[in-house]
């Protein structure tokens, strides 16, 4: 199974990543970070691969993947919108941001649009509280949101 998988360049890259952590202590989380960068999410096959190559029981890999908010087990839209629901954003109207996005995209938190363009999810504090309310699309943070700004930002990503 490994040989077949290794012909896939993504698995080959993950294989090299795991190799580079061979002498590191407790590298599972760091490897999963990289695996998610490569695959976009962590499906059972990838977890299985990590488990076999690192000699860690699959139950343990799955346990770690599901524990941390950062790791995903289902495919995401092309762009992931993380709306901050932390206290600072909450007071500045984060719930309205979610509502506007629901109206604009037709999806709620945890859902992906049918065209797989956007996934909407919630985070608890991005640490950009001075800009509240904020959302993060992929790696970009957008702050001081209102309806006009949200619409404008979404347009930049829609294609």
């Amino acid at each position: 199974m490994n040989d077949v998988q290794l012909k896939n360049p993504m698995y080959a890259e993950l294989d090299r990543v795991i190799d580079s952590y061979r002498d590191a202590k407790g590298p599972l989380i760091q490897v999963l970070h990289r695996a998610q960068e490569i695959f976009g999410y962590l499906p059972p096959e990838v977890q299985q691969f990590v488990s076999q190559r690192m000699g860690i029981p699959p139950s343990k890999v799955y346990g770690v993947v599901t524990f941390y908010n950062f790791f995903r087990t289902v495919p995401q839209g092309k762009h992931v919108i993380n709306v901050c629901l932390g206290t600072a954003c909450h007071v500045k109207g984060a719930d309205r941001v979610v509502e506007i996005l629901r109206e604009e995209l037709g999806i709620g938190i945890g859902q992906t649009t049918e065209d797989r363009q956007f996934t909407l999810s919630a985070v608890r504090c991005l640490g950009a509280c001075g800009l509240a309310p904020v959302m993060m699309i992929d790696e970009e943070v957008y702050g001081k949101l209102d309806r006009a700004k949200i619409k404008h930002v979404l347009q930049q990503y829609a294609s």
């Binding site: 202590k25 407790g26 590298p27 599972l28 989380i29 760091q30 999963l32 970070h33 343990k60 346990g63 770690v64 524990f67 941390y68 908010n69 950062f70 790791f71 629901l85 932390g86 206290t87 600072a88 909450h90 007071v91 500045k92 719930d95 979610v98 509502e99 985070v123 608890r124 504090c125 991005l126 640490g127 950009a128 509280c129 001075g130 800009l131 509240a132 790696e139 943070v141 957008y142 702050g143 001081k144």
Partner: protein
């Protein structure tokens, strides 16, 4: 290259980057070249200046003139007026007239702050080791090495300084170090998993003055006999991670980290571990589990990490702000440190002021400074001229303080006497229109989401708290509030770690000061 006549410092951090700081920097470089000033004026990047929500911030030295909300379009004017003709652009300036001294730069937030931890943030280029050394980095380390100060003396100095852990609990740092069990293999862990909602003080240090943290870690490692240190940073802090990685490389290249630090026999090295988003990992034993690559379940204490920590070895876990205090203490002495703050809580504290404050931002003031002074002097009061209702101090695991608490000194002991906590130093200011009930619902949802699930008390309890308050909000009565308090108190007694023990703080304080608001509440249903 001859020394520059003027220095243009551009604040590069997450907020200002969004406001277009990079474009402004480029515009400055271009305009300066265009005017033929590139031999006389240098453009450099710096870290967070502690000014939040004011767009791109630019400081021009030697005058120390501070401009806020600078856009690309403003740059030609600043260059031709200020740099060429020596006339500050008043419409963007936050201080009129020349200010040689940054402390007097005229911004409410910066003025009068006794800065120890943030001394260099926003003054130096955080990606440049020479600049850090120029303002005194690694002097404390040099002193320890040249004067052959023993590890025990370093610990004693920190004990005498009275420094207490800035992560929230306020445990004396020197004592924590001295409790470390003997052993050949020990670890130092810097907790930079800043997860308390509404807190970004550690990010400022990581992004603005990384070498101060590295020096503090080397000194701490030397004191406890650890040769290896880890910085556990939240995965979301990409700029901070990048800057720390760069600083660590620079330190290694200059023998400040490695097998023979500054040619001595002292060895110490630092590795960065990226967190993956779990609030509970702020708890030190959960953080250790996470570094080991496992789920972040807190461990049973005792044994404390000082005895059995990372990989079973004695380990000290310190907060970023705590470690950033070490070098100044070693360099200037415990007595000097004690001249700041109160008898039982010496030194300063960095606060993140957010919410409805007129000028939200990060400030560093002496321990014991009353909340009133922090909000009205440093944060400009309440925005839009509204009235003060309450402040949530210490994040989600914090307490509401109403008007009666405005004059309580902000330090570990005074706040505890007031049944509040200093916690991470987050201050969420709430104006008269804020809804305490909705805010509490948000906080309880947060705990339910972040409960790690290891112990039943917290796993079920956090969910029950949400259910009870939701029920109260839809068609409940006063009994629900009593039940809410009873469950939270039980969780305080029976939960395994501080996460489950914390909800009682916001609940109790909200009900103490704002019970009538709960009773008058009508549901406006909050989306979860």
């Amino acid at each position: 290259m001859k020394p520059a006549r003027s220095l243009v410092l551009i604040e590069i951090e997450e907020d200002s980057l969004l406001a277009g700081a990079k474009a402004v920097e480029q515009a400055f470089s271009d305009a300066i070249k265009e005017q033929g000033l590139d031999q006389e004026v240098r453009v450099a990047e710096t870290g967070n200046l502690g000014i939040i929500g004011r767009g791109v911030v630019v400081v021009i030295y030697p005058e120390g003139t501070t401009y806020v909300g600078v856009t690309e379009a403003d740059v030609p004017e600043i260059v031709s007026e200020h740099l060429l003709k020596g006339r500050p652009v008043k419409r963007l300036q936050v201080c009129l007239g020349p200010c040689m001294d940054r402390e007097k730069a005229g911004i409410g937030l910066v003025r009068d702050q006794p800065r120890i931890v943030l001394k260099n943030c926003g003054i130096i280029d955080p990606e440049n080791l020479q600049e850090a050394i120029g303002v005194g980095a690694y002097q404390a380390l040099e002193r320890v090495l040249t004067e052959e100060i023993s590890p025990k003396s370093v610990i004693d100095e920190v004990i005498n300084s009275g420094l207490r852990g800035r992560g929230g609990a306020g445990f004396p740092t020197g004592k924590k170090w001295s409790f470390t069990a003997p052993g050949d293999e020990k670890y130092l862990v810097c907790n930079a998993d800043e997860g308390e909602p509404g807190t970004c003080k550690d990010r400022l240090i990581l992004e603005g003055d990384p070498h101060r943290l590295i020096e503090g870690m080397i000194l701490a490692g030397y004191a406890i006999g650890a040769k290896k240190g880890y910085i556990y940073i939240r995965g979301e802090y990409s700029l901070a991670i990048g800057r720390m990685e760069k600083a660590i490389e620079q330190a290694r290249a200059n023998d400040l980290l490695g097998e023979h630090i500054l040619g001595s026999d002292i060895a110490f090295d630092i590795e960065i571990k990226k967190g993956a988003g779990a609030y509970v990992c702020g708890e030190e034993t959960a953080l250790i589990e996470s570094i080991e690559g496992k789920r972040g379940y807190p461990r049973l204490k005792p044994p404390y990490p000082g005895q059995v920590g990372l990989r079973g070895k004695p380990t000290v876990v310190n907060n970023v702000e705590t470690l950033a205090n070490i070098a100044p203490i070693i360099l200037n002495g415990a007595e000097w440190f004690r001249s700041f703050g109160t008898e039982t809580c010496p030194g300063t504290k960095v606060y993140t002021i957010l919410g409805h404050a007129a000028t939200p931002g990060l400030i560093e003031v002496e321990m014991g400074t009353p909340l009133r002074e922090i909000i009205y002097k440093y944060a400009g009061g309440i925005r839009d001229g509204k009235g003060f209702k309450a402040a949530l101090i210490g994040g989600a695991a914090g307490a509401f303080v109403d008007e009666a608490g405005l004059d309580v000194g902000m330090d570990y002991d005074s706040l505890r006497d007031y049944s509040a906590v200093l916690g991470s130093g987050a201050i969420l200011v709430l104006d008269e229109d804020a809804s305490i009930v909705e805010l509490l619902r948000g906080i309880l949802n947060f705990f339910a989401h972040e409960s790690c699930g290891q112990c039943a008390t917290c796993r079920s309890g956090t969910g029950r708290l949400v259910d009870i308050l939701d029920r109260f909000c839809s068609d409940g009565n006063e009994d629900d509030l009593d039940l809410l308090l009873r469950v939270a108190r039980l969780m305080h007694e029976a939960s395994f770690c501080p996460l489950g023990q914390s909800p009682v703080l916001p609940i109790e304080s909200a009900l103490r000061a704002f019970k009538q608001e709960f009773l008058d509440y009508t549901d406006v249903s909050m989306p979860v």
